[in-house]
Symmetry: C3
Subunit: 253 residues, 3 copies
């Protein structure tokens, strides 16, 4: 019981710090040139969206970080690293997120994110032993699902690029996705956020289904869309909505 109380108190502290962080992601320049934008930020985005109960603040911070990293919005990314850490994303999880998204949004986005993270990790005394191991014991593989996926991709694209087919199997599905430093549900969460932010709804069906197989609820997915509208822009979310609708409907049958 004591542990739970302590954890709960820590969560409250984290949330207060995270709320403060969310408010401070807005540069001072906004108030000077666009007071209306500052009002929308303070009242609607920070004051309302971030406190929405359908998705935890920790998940919102992770999803926001994934979206901004995907969009290569590097100049302000450090403030979202602070926010994610204060909202309860562990240093290991955030580290693993950039490793994961290196594959899903491009290496340069991950190296730029690493440069934004490094001074903050140093300042907070986060050390090598707090980070995911290079060669951990992997999670168990769902062999049947993986065999089906690989057969499908090999059949469709083996003649186009065997390199892509092989790397997808060896590096992604037999290795990266089985690394324990990020829960499969969270790995899926950042992948879907990255696809929405990158404007790639055509790749979302597989990953949103996988996210929900991994435990993401429909309510959380809907709240993620609502949250990302602010950070990726409304049109990106409106292009993702019909895909989400199809996935939700196909799973309810």
């Amino acid at each position: 019981m004591k542990t739970r109380i302590a954890a709960s108190a820590l969560a409250l502290m984290s949330t207060a710090a995270a709320a403060q962080d969310a408010a401070s992601t807005l540069p001072d320049a906004v108030a000077r040139v666009a007071p209306a934008l500052e009002a929308y930020s303070t009242e609607d985005l920070v004051g309302s969206v971030w406190n929405g109960e359908e998705l935890s603040m920790r998940d919102r911070a992770l999803v926001t970080f994934a979206a901004l990293m995907t969009r290569h919005e590097t100049e302000n990314l450090g403030s979202y690293v602070e926010l994610a850490l204060d909202a309860g994303v562990s240093p290991a999880e955030l580290s693993e997120t950039i490793t994961h998204l290196a594959f899903y949004t491009g290496w340069g986005n991950a190296t730029a994110a690493a440069e934004a993270m490094a001074p903050i990790y140093e300042e907070r005394g986060i050390a090598a032993e707090d980070l995911p191991a290079v060669d951990p014991e992997l999670l168990p593989l769902n062999e049947e699902a993986e065999a089906a996926r690989q057969e499908n991709v090999q059949g469709n694209y083996g003649d186009v690029s065997q390199g892509v087919v092989d790397n997808t199997e060896q590096l992604l599905f037999l290795d990266l996705w089985l690394r324990p430093a990020l829960e499969p549900r969270d790995r899926s969460l950042v992948t879907v956020a990255a696809l929405i932010a990158a404007g790639q709804p055509e790749q979302m069906t597989f990953h949103l289904n996988r996210a929900m197989d991994n435990g993401l609820t429909q309510e959380e997915a809907g709240a993620m869309l609502s949250h990302l509208a602010f950070y990726a822009g409304w049109p990106k979310v409106f292009s993702a909505m019909p895909v989400a609708k199809e996935v939700f409907e196909s799973r309810s049958q």
Copy 2:
């Protein structure tokens, strides 16, 4: 009559300054490493495209700013802020543009644009009273059109993300679009420019129709496509052309 002469003289002065600004958006490095690119810039882009009569220089500056902000091309954005102001975009209009595009291309693009604008607004002595009010008297709502839009979106996506549906109504169509600091025609202009620059032609049908309902002519829309080819790249424009064709044809019937 005197007023018209003065306004006309001011327009000439603005255009000369703007033409100078357009030329100076090109960094010196271009001439050093790619003389051919400098020649295309000077002769074709600055010397010809920017002077095309189908679209005013003021509109070209607004559209270019919207495209570059959408693409997060922040390092040189200040020179396009100067150009827009000298070409006749008012400080209030440019401020409202970033507020509008925060919703349409993502918050981080808007905050980065604010950081590019702030030193220029300060240098030009643009003060708080020159900027759009936070809570102005709103423009009248076309209630019938809005009811149809909302019914359509609620019906399609209420089950997917009620948060998106509600925010789209409350923040965008009952508030942002009715703010008087940017003419509806200009609001539509920057929205369509942002969609082309973001590579989202699939979201363009609604907004190009709305732009033309709000007064954008077909000739101006065609000139915007031609202008944006340089700033967003030819393929982005070629993906937008079939959508524009469909909209133009549907409206001529």
Copy 3:
């Protein structure tokens, strides 16, 4: 024989320098915050992908530069300029690449790339006479193919934007594509890489066919997809795969 030995020795030297460059594109921050990402970089990306024999290191460097320039990943672009030059891309070819991609991915990407290149060109003593001429003698035009292309575009889009149609003919197909500073095969290579990196597979059919008409082999195209998965992200490549498949199949019939 002596010349060939010398050229071959030079190639080896270039490759060693280029391999060193490839390793040094990774910022130190990566090891500090994400040791697993560093391991994937060193073992898989630099240690394996870059040495794949299906595509030369010179082509890999050119394709990578095109992708990163398209993604406006400017902060680290200089290290890829060094890599390209050391891997055998000539200063004139790299200069012409940014001129070409100004049209295909937007002017701001090209000017930012020029700023990354300028200090390196200065340090290496690359002078104006090493760069492509502004008005060179153009390569011969395939008049039949160009007439067909122009007729098609004029018929489809003349009513939408005559400006786009005219500039596409005059600036791109009767000028840029005929400039001798970059082989048509290489011009196509960077164009296709840019389209994949920009997430525009819908524009790839024409250019991949043109690339293969210009000498790119199917094996090279497949290896480019596999290479770009790392730099543009897996989903971008998976959206390009069906288009490549269709092009490959249509050409084998």
